[in-house]
């Protein structure tokens, strides 16, 4: 699964298994993938096919049992935790099925966290968080807590948080899986608009065929392998 130009993110022969009883359960079986700058990739497949596990490994949230993972030619699996955390903060953004917002923080505070982790000042972080929330149509929701927001708004706040650090790659795991059809359509369109305006590389895992049809590159997984 590769094309001619040099990939931004490259996974080679990635395997992942979990212990099960006396043996082990193979989730990913020597799977390889090259992702190029500006691509929009959709990974589809049945439940248990290994889509989310692959996404987590590509996003350095999980480690494979074997294989190689590199970003711009730099091996990610050999990086120390401090360096890998900084890399993740600067180059990657994540949107999950559940919004995973910190419940005791306002929308604005949730969004500015990645910048504050990077050491950006409070005032600058607040300005940039306000700007991106305005862009996503949440200008009236800065001081609202997650419990005061609707499902679609929560997911937009989560997207704002993923993008505030201007990452190169945005990973999304079933981003519309928890939304009604209207909000789902809004979020789907938002992903493509943001991809263009932020110059993002987009990797999305979804079950939704309507969403997957919008991607130029769709990869199907079954039983830990590409099909």
């Amino acid at each position: 699964m590769s094309s001619g130009t040099s990939p931004i993110l490259s996974a080679k022969r990635i395997s992942k298994s979990y212990p099960q009883g006396a043996g082990h359960l193979d989730i990913l079986k020597e799977i390889s993938l090259d992702i190029h700058h500006g691509e929009a990739i959709c990974i589809v497949g049945a439940s248990g096919a290994g889509k989310s596990t692959l996404l987590h490994i590509l996003g350095t949230l999980d480690r494979p049992n074997s294989g190689e993972l590199s970003f711009g030619g730099r091996s990610l699996l050999s990086m120390a935790d401090e360096d890998l955390s900084l890399f993740r903060n600067q180059e990657m953004g994540f949107v999950f099925q559940f919004h995973h917002l910190l419940t005791e923080f306002t929308a604005l505070e949730n969004v500015l966290i990645p910048l504050r982790v990077r050491g950006v000042s409070k005032s600058e972080s607040e300005d940039r968080a306000a700007e991106i929330l305005n862009t996503l149509g949440l200008g009236e929701r800065f001081e609202h807590f997650p419990s005061q927001l609707s499902g679609g708004e929560l997911q937009r706040v989560a997207i704002a948080r993923a993008l505030i650090g201007r990452p190169q790659i945005l990973f999304a795991d079933e981003p519309t899986g928890n939304l009604d059809s209207h909000n789902s359509a809004v979020i789907q369109d938002l992903f493509f608009q943001l991809k263009e305006s932020f110059g993002l590389t987009l990797v999305v895992v979804t079950h939704d065929p309507q969403f997957s049809r919008k991607f130029p590159r769709v990869l199907k997984m079954s039983d830990g392998r590409w099909v």
């Binding site: 987590h56 996003g59 949230l61 999980d62 480690r63 935790d81 401090e82 955390s85 900084l86 890399f87 993740r88 903060n89 600067q90 994540f94 999950f96 559940f98 995973h100 910190l102 419940t103 005791e104 923080f105 966290i113 990645p114 504050r116 982790v117 990077r118 050491g119 950006v120 000042s121 409070k122 948080r161």
Partner: protein, 418 residues
Amino acid sequence: MKQETKFYFWLALRMLMSRGSQLFSLSGLNALTGLILGVACLVVSMAVMSGFESTLRQSVVDVTGHIQILIKSSSGIPKKELVDRIKVLEPSFQAATRFSYLEAVMAHEGKISGVVLQGLDPEDVTQVLGMQKRLIDGKFQLKALEDGKTEKVDQALIGRGLAAQMDLKVGDRFRLVLPLRNDLDPSQFRRKLGTFQVSGVLDLGKYEYNQRMILTSLEATQKLAEIGDRYSGLLLKFKEVEKSRAIAAKLGAGLGSGYIIRDWKEVNENLFEAVGLERVVVFFVILVIVIAAAFNVASTLYVNVVTRYSEIGLLKSMGVSKKRVAQIFSFQGLVMGFIGLCGGLLLGAFLCFLFGWVESQYSLLPGSIYRVDRIDLLVRPVDILMISAATLLICFVATLAPALRGSSLSPVEGLKNE
């Protein structure tokens, strides 16, 4: 402070102080209460120990001065000559008074008691000793009264325990029986009787002093013991009581072997050593309560970590490193420790105040057991510093385990815990 560090403090505090935090759960509040009680116990016990030591020290210093010089030779040495030598050896010298020391038996209305009779020079005793402020009844009168009408009677100040035991009041007279050497037969003693009048009653602080001490003029003791103008030695006062031991050593080396020189602490060496040791033991025994409470705090923090798996996973996905996650939870542990410490210090201070009030209303300490009749609780800054340092250190160590548990969690493991 770096922007990043400020942010992590803010994040940790917000997560700890939020309504859903374990800090405000029943177990969290229980853990904090335990810590507050433990710290309060430490504050009160240290205040009692420090107060006990201070009361004892003040009592000894008031009765014996900073340093006591006993003259070994029976020939005697003029006070001025001895003081001049002391001044040369130690420039911080402030005052000296002569004293004599006798043991006698008191008799009054059919009761008898062994007593210590201390003769002091009325001219300069108040410059050296703090007896005057210990007067609880009568007048601070050592000299015999001479009004020309009544017979001349030697005056005496007695300890309040002795006054109560012998049923003596100001103005009462009593007799002392002194054994003196029989020059004709050295194997025998002869009795010498003296009559004294109670001019005042003193609260000397220390139980033994109150039960046995009688103070009178040096002249009266010289007359009673038939020693002419000789005296037992000098009681000295210097600028700083804390330097007494070093000064005593210096005087010992400078004055030669004809003198026995003891500082105030040496006069009751064993007692002060015992008190010092007791203070250390009490501190560590009660510290166990704080340790137990700190582990309760750690349990609360552990639950806090477990209930925040998804937040930890999320923070890691945003680039928060393992080290930073550990710092967030350690900081939370320290904040809980700090809250418990502050609460404990306040409660301890209140209990000390309460103790003082109850003590002023009721007699809490049997002097025969505790050597002092009352304790003025003393909260020393050094004790507060030690309690604070020990509490925060224990809380920090106890919360390391939950903090490390949080930091070792993989981001995916956390995110799956929705």
